[in-house]
Amino acid sequence: MQFADPPAAEAAAPLVADAAAIARWRTLRDEVAAASPERRALTLQAASRHVRRQVLHTIDAAGLGHIGGDFSVTDILVTLFDAVLRIDPARPGWAQRDRFILSKGHCAAALYSVLASAGFFPEARLAHFAAPLSPLNGHPNRRKIPGVETNTGPLGHGLPVAVGCAAAAQITRQDFRTFVVLGDGELQEGSNWEAAMYAAQRGLGSLTAIVDRNRLQQGASTGDTNDLEPLPDKWRAFGWETHVVDGHSHAELQAVLAAPPGERPRAVIADTIKGKGVSFMENGVEWHHKVPSAAQYAAAIEELSK
């Protein structure tokens, strides 16, 4: 296991930016922006593998987490942070930044790994995930974690807050964009549809909602629980510009996420695989929040190191 048990005082320390990591991230962003499509795909795939390994270390050290959803959302997060979002990890409060909200807050380990990769805080702090008094709570807390825009965890909260961010940009005539990642099971919460309706009413073109469509919720498939289909039609009926993409293709994700805003809010249904990247976790409902054994950890690291 990569991380040793941290002393409590270390775990409780505030998170501060990691200048060296920010410099590396800026170089990566420049490379991604300038690269050929083939080269860009390889670079982002490597970044995703790194994030998945960090997620694995993080959950292994904490003894808890939501690894299946972390892995399904990883490529979406990597595409956003390494190729799309207008952000500056050295200035998390920059007024003109794009807003990113992880509504499926239980996938905090994936978000924290991506934030650390961008230098919002040092990667070594991932060892403190869920430790006593750690700023890295089991669900994201904006008061403690630079780069987190709002506290999520209870489902159905991220989209309304994102609508508020986008409405503020519209009212104040600012050009920042707002991106929110929703779980698919989360769409069973009615508050999402209140927000979806209102975003279309206001014509919030600066708003993009990405659905991590892994088709599994905590105990079963979404289809066997409270079916969401026809999901693209639902978003279209609510007045959203709707796209369905391969949620593990950085190229497809980047094309739709980086496209200029239109007149209407944009829904991106990203078809994903829960547990993506580790063969024995993929599409296994039990990996919603199972923690790998030592042998499974070693096997997973090996797959993610290829």
Partner: protein
């Protein structure tokens, strides 16, 4: 002549609307967020003056509070104006997670609270709000007693840059605040000194406590009257002084007796200076009736305050 000069008493929503417009004129960050409640929250004038700064999400309270948090994230200063039962009941988790835990400077304005919608029944009464919100993290809870205190509380709430909840009454009330009195969180206002017994009230009940004190004076009982508009944080020192210096405390609130003002004071005193208390308020879901009828029904009257105070002193 504004409504505030009327002898019939004041609807605090009028002062609220005027103050909100004044704050918006002075501060471009101020926006109003509502749930199809432009009329009931008295926001017609605001909409006319600042059409782009009125965010009406329709009948969708969860979205309303989440949107307010997002507006605050992006630098605006939202006043969420909605009938209190729906703001606090329907959107309680959004208040907890999106506003209080996220610590966004959102001013939650519970309009027409208590039993202001008398005959519309318990679905439209907001008597649980104080109990729910007192238990919800670090949220300031203010129950202004009259237009002057409503305006002062709004100015404070905006300047505080923290989450707050203001109860904005529609039931007509007389002016009770001393001239020039502002609002300070954690500070109660002693409206009348007294040595025998203390009456602590909020909102619509403050004038009734003052009325009761007059009647007690006629019986030779010297009653102290305290307006405890800052329900949270509570003015501990003023409550402890009342417990030490008088022979009992009667609390009066237009809210359920479990978890509101009386509970807050009892929690303090039982641990630091136990005092004899009577907690007057709403004891359950209300039957059908007007606000005035329901005040009588639940004993929220000067007569009953006098009776309870007298009993407390007699049994001492």
């Amino acid at each position: 002549m504004s409504k505030e000069d009327s002898n019939a008493g004041f609807d605090c929503r009028q002062a609220f609307a005027e103050e909100l417009a004044a704050l918006a004129a002075a501060d471009p960050r101020v926006v109003a967020v509502c749930n199809d409640s432009v009329g009931s929250s008295n926001l017609g004038g605001f909409r006319k003056a600042f059409p782009e700064r009125l965010v009406n999400v329709g009948i969708a309270e969860q979205n309303m509070v989440g949107v307010a948090a997002g507006l605050a994230n992006a630098g605006l200063r939202p006043f969420v104006c909605a009938a209190s039962p729906f703001l606090t009941g329907r959107a309680l988790e959004q208040i907890k997670a999106d506003v209080v835990y996220s610590d966004f400077p959102v001013v939650l304005c519970g309009m027409s609270p208590g039993m202001a919608y008398g005959e519309l029944g318990p679905t439209h009464h907001s008597i649980e709000d104080l109990a729910w919100l007192r238990a919800t993290g670090d949220l300031a809870i203010v129950v202004p007693a009259d237009p002057q205190e409503t305006r002062a509380a709004m100015r404070w709430a905006l300047a505080s840059e923290r989450p707050s909840f203001l109860r904005i009454g529609r039931t007509k009330v007389p002016a009770v605040s001393p001239e020039g009195q502002g609002f300070t969180p954690g500070r109660a206002v002693v409206l009348r000194p007294g040595r025998d017994i203390t009456l602590v009230a909020i909102g619509t009940m403050v004038s009734r406590a003052l009325d009761a004190a007059e009647r007690l004076a006629a019986q030779g009982v010297d009653a102290r009257v305290i307006n405890a508009a800052s329900v949270k944080p509570l003015d501990d020192a003023t409550m402890l002084a009342a417990a030490r210096e008088t022979r009992g405390i009667v609390t009066i609130e237009e809210a359920v007796v479990h978890g509101g003002l009386g509970s807050a004071i009892a929690e303090l005193l039982v641990q630091q200076h136990p005092a004899r208390m009577r907690i007057l308020g709403v004891t359950g879901l209300a039957p059908t009736g007007s606000t005035a009828f329901l005040f009588e029904h639940f004993g929220l009257t000067a007569e009953n305050i006098v009776r309870q105070a007298t009993e407390l002193l007699d049994t001492h």
